[in-house]
């Protein structure tokens, strides 16, 4: 085990390249609906139980299933209303279990990226070969179903190994959503040396973390989104920022939560300098315009303080 994942160098907030998003936008806002399938009775990973109660855990399973049966359409309608294309963090098993939902998001030109096969299959304990096979399998499923190249990865249920990001970069990925160290994209160092970046996802504004872990009230979640946006929008005048709103239809899609979420989006979209982007678009723009500069700055800082 390592004491540091070794994935990125130190790049202080006051030494950033001046990022400008397309059309001079100050902030790139992306919404990442997690479209997931959780199994009722999966094989139990030695390091992490899928459900708190003995199998079948009817309540935990049904809670997730609500998102696909009920919540998805509501969530999608709100995003449609604001012209937001989702960047889907996809349990690729959904392509087979519930293709009806995937057809709807592809009609809307949403991006699909990999969130593994099932959200009840964790990375823990897989050998490097097994994890590579799983990562490639999921990317191929996306390619075969949608024609899209899978550029991004959020490991299933945020379960990682030491090699997760190396493996995804080697398989042809461009960006990871698994790192929470920044409000801008940053270069990520992998063993293959490929040009690869982190695109800020968010735990703090992730509806599941908000509702299940931090137990936040729905109206307050709306306020939190508003406050985060206001700050990142203001700071984005100096150098463009990224704000991600990760969603789960089984959380945000409940009737007591949608109105507050809608108000938050309304607030965001009342500003001019917003680039409504997908994860892939943010990663590409950064790779093309700012990656090299950021690498050079990191080297300079390292050398000047060595």
């Amino acid at each position: 085990m390592k004491s540091d994942p070794g994935l990125y160098g130190y790049l202080p907030w006051d030494r950033r390249p001046q990022i400008r998003w397309p059309n001079g936008a100050r902030i790139a806002v992306w919404v990442a609906p997690n479209i997931e399938f959780y199994e009722l009775d999966p094989p139990v990973n030695p390091q992490r139980k899928p459900w708190p109660r003995p199998a079948p855990d009817v309540t935990a399973y049904a809670t997730r299933d609500y998102g696909n049966r009920v919540g998805h359409m509501r969530m999608m309608r709100v995003l449609d209303q604001f012209g937001i294309r989702g960047s889907v963090s996809l349990s690729t098993a959904m392509l087979t279990h519930h293709p009806e939902i995937i057809a709807l998001v592809l009609e809307r030109n949403w991006e699909l990226f990999s969130h593994g096969i099932y959200n009840t299959r964790y990375t823990y304990g897989l050998s490097e070969d097994q994890e590579r096979a799983m990562i490639i399998d999921a990317m191929q499923r996306i390619r075969e179903y949608s024609g899209q190249h899978c550029d991004g990865y959020l490991a299933p249920a945020l379960s990682h190994s030491e090699h997760t990001i190396d493996l995804f970069a080697e398989a042809g990925g461009t960006y990871t959503c698994d790192l929470f160290h920044d409000d801008q994209p940053t270069p990520v160092t992998t063993r293959s040396g490929k040009r690869f970046v982190s695109v800020p996802y968010s735990l703090e504004l992730n509806d599941t973390i908000v509702y299940v872990v931090n137990k936040i009230e729905p109206r307050r979640y709306g306020e939190m989104i508003g406050r985060a946006f206001d700050r990142l929008y203001a700071e984005g005048e100096r150098s463009g920022t990224v704000m991600c709103i990760p969603l789960h239809a089984y959380q945000v899609g409940h009737p007591h939560r949608l109105a507050a979420f809608q108000r938050a989006l309304d607030h965001i979209l009342s500003h001019d300098g917003v680039w409504l982007a997908t994860g892939r678009e943010i990663a590409r723009h950064y790779l093309e315009h700012y990656y090299d500069q950021a690498m050079a700055t990191m080297r300079e800082i390292e050398e000047s303080t060595a």
Binding site: F37, E39, L40, D41, P43, N45, P46, P52, R53, P54, A55, P56, V58, T59, Y61, A62, T63, D65, Y66, N68, R69, V70, H72, M73, R74, A93, T96, H97, H98, P99, E100, I101, I117, Y118, R121, G125, L126, S127, D129, Q130, A133, M134, K215, E217, P218, R219, H254, P255, H256, R257, L258, A259, A260
Partner: protein, 315 residues
């Protein structure tokens, strides 16, 4: 280091669900439901009437609300019992004030311990649901089949003499089921259950014997979940339920009847500092007038087009 190959094999990867209990179906792709009087929103208020033993065995897992302190946990035992002595009567008054229907999901052991209360609830004329034997009897795979069958029979036997009609509805303690619970419910004459919280409307639920209907009783909107699990204030509770009612009402106007399934625990919402917020919620719902259809769960299932065999729910 590696895992067995089964961790990378996906035997239930197929169209639809990874089990046989119900068909995959998106609510909005179904034929819209019309409630009586064209009300966009049906209101199902269910009150759980529960007994938490002082000496829980907690086979499999501990249902929420059970004892947490070393024996004898008098604080939680009596706090739960408060609901049966005081809280429930506050809820009954609040219901009565607005003429709202409610169902009562009763632990069999409550009827045995407090026959006065059970009769009082039966006399309201409300529908009674079997709510398992007590809150330490959560149905799960940690319990053997005979025990489960016995709990179901014992519960029905304790409740059935209270009402003229057989009891047809089931809410498991903690909404929990084993893989065989649905078959055992069917065998005992139950025709619908409320345990699976994966939908906002009733749907057909398969068992090896006969089909049941599952009428989801929302967990995310219940008092215990919002107040005890999420630690939100009573004011927040009412605000969230009001937001939910308004949202569902708007959706119901555009897309077919919707259901607000409101689950209450007298030991939670019946406390003196909380009951006023339930009353505020009731006032809001009452103020929506004819837009809200307050009904018994069996009526809601029937209005959604399900004919439950043997339940006399009409045709």
């Amino acid at each position: 280091m590696s895992l067995d190959e089964k961790f990378l094999s996906y035997e239930k990867l197929r169209h639809g669900m990874d089990h046989e209990r119900y068909e995959w179906s998106m609510l909005e792709r179904r034929e819209p439901v019309t409630w009586p009087g064209n009300a966009p929103l049906a209101l199902w208020i269910n009150v759980c009437v529960e007994h938490f033993p002082l000496n829980p065995q907690s086979a499999g897992f501990k249902a929420p609300g059970n004892m947490t302190m070393p024996y004898p946990d008098l604080r939680h035992y009596t706090l739960r019992d408060y609901g049966n002595r005081v809280g429930i009567f506050r809820i009954l008054e609040a219901l009565d004030r607005h003429g709202f229907h409610a169902s009562f999901a009763i632990n069999g052991e409550v009827a045995e311990r407090y026959p006065y209360l059970a009769q009082r609830l039966a006399e309201v004329g409300a529908e009674l649901l079997a709510h398992g034997w007590n809150m330490d009897c959560a149905h799960s795979s940690a319990v053997d089949e005979q025990t489960e069958r016995q709990w179901i029979r014992q519960t029905l036997a304790a409740l059935e003499h209270l009402v003229d009609q057989p009891i047809r509805g089931w809410l498991g303690p903690a909404r929990s089921q084993s893989s065989r619970t649905p078959e055992l419910l069917d065998e005992a004459g139950i025709t619908w259950c409320a345990d699976w919280v994966n939908d906002d409307l009733p749907y057909r639920f398969r068992t090896d014997a006969g089909d049941l209907v599952n009428l989801p009783l929302s967990l995310e909107l219940e008092d215990r979940f919002i107040i005890n699990d999420n630690l939100h204030s009573e004011t927040e509770y009412a605000d969230q339920l009001i937001d939910a009612a308004d949202f569902l009402l708007a959706e119901g106007r555009e897309r077919g009847g919707r259901l607000l399934a409101l689950n209450l625990h007298p030991w939670v919402i019946g406390q003196p500092h909380r009951i006023g917020q339930l009353e505020r919620l009731f006032e809001h719902l009452y103020g929506l007038g004819d837009l809200v259809w307050s009904a018994a769960p069996s009526e809601i299932i029937a209005a959604a087009g399900f004919v439950l065999e043997g339940s006399g729910l009409g045709d």
